[in-house]
Amino acid sequence: MKCNSIHKNLIFYLDGELPPQEMEDIKNHLSECKECVAFAEELQKTQAILAAEKSVEPNPFFYTRLKAKMEAEETVDSAPRWQQAWVKVLQPALFSFLLVAGVYFGSKIGKPEPINVAVANFADEQVIPYLNEMDTEPIEAFLME
């Protein structure tokens, strides 16, 4: 028996789903072929994962959580229609409007005023000399004191 035909049927062999003769043939082949044995072991390990996943430990809080979820859903369902509409439509719409309005006014407030160049030059000349203490009191005079 060739390795190729073994590989095609190995999963059925491991599940014991082949006719007796084929089961015997594969068993004989596996006793001689290391390569096929290695793949069979891989498949067995993978099947063991499925077996492990089957054994679910029941969650002891499952029913409590289920009841809490049901009560929460009932509260939402029993709310008046205007309240449901408020939660689902009006509330997001209001928040979106506030967000857009915030961005609009923010950009308006943050926008710099146009500068009048003539006034700005005048201001430089008038104000800077009085602000620059180095003009009125040089560093040498300051250190001498």
């Binding site: 993978t46 492990a52 979820k69 859903e73």
Partner: protein, 193 residues
């Protein structure tokens, strides 16, 4: 309490009967959902929705089919809807899962297994690869395979749940196994685990 009695009392809005129903079928529903979504938290969330749906639509339940069949159908549908709705968020999940190792059910269940980190790492990789391989199967193959492997259901039971003939289910599971074997063999050859 028998199945019919639970149903009758549920139809009258008996909370005790609902508690009994959840106790009896919690494992069935959670395991089925887990087999499809591969995450325990999500599986429990979906399972809660399944029981809420059962509680609200128990009047529609026809007594000619088994309660478990009905539960399996709702669980499968809800899980598939969940997968569809969350496909867009999958990209973000991959980062979140990598950070939290959230999508790792085996680690959560085997708390003492950290004694052998190398084994654990390999097992995690194997688990992730298996989940990816199952997820890549066509929808019906995935459902049939999951019900067969996670719930140990036979072909007749699966055919009833999926509303297909027994031979169709047999063929679906056969093809699912061949496809999985191909993917696992390709991975084995590339030494991706």
């Amino acid at each position: 309490m028998k199945e019919t009695e639970i149903i009758n009392r549920l139809q009258q809005g008996d909370e005790q009967a609902f508690k009994q129903l959840v106790g009896n079928y919690q494992e069935l529903v959670v395991t089925t959902c887990f087999g499809l979504v591969h995450n325990m938290e999500d599986a429990e969330d979906i399972a809660q929705d399944v029981f809420i749906e059962v509680f609200r639509s128990v009047d529609k339940f026809r007594a000619d089919s088994k309660l478990s069949t009905w539960l399996y159908r709702i669980s499968v549908n809800r899980s598939l809807n969940f997968i569809r709705d969350n496909k867009r968020r999958k990209w973000f999940w991959s980062f979140e899962d990598a950070a939290e190792n959230k999508n790792n059910p085996l680690e959560k269940r085997t708390h003492g297994a950290s004694e052998n980190p190398e084994y654990e790492f390999e097992n995690n990789q194997r688990t992730q690869f298996l989940h990816q391989a199952i997820d890549s199967l066509p929808k019906n193959q995935r459902i049939a395979f999951t019900l067969n492997k996670y719930e140990d259901l036979n072909y007749n039971e699966i055919s009833e749940i999926m509303d297909l003939s027994k031979s169709s289910v047999e063929s679906l599971i056969h093809r699912a196994k061949i496809n999985l074997q191909k993917k696992l063999y390709a991975c084995y050859k590339k030494k991706c685990i």
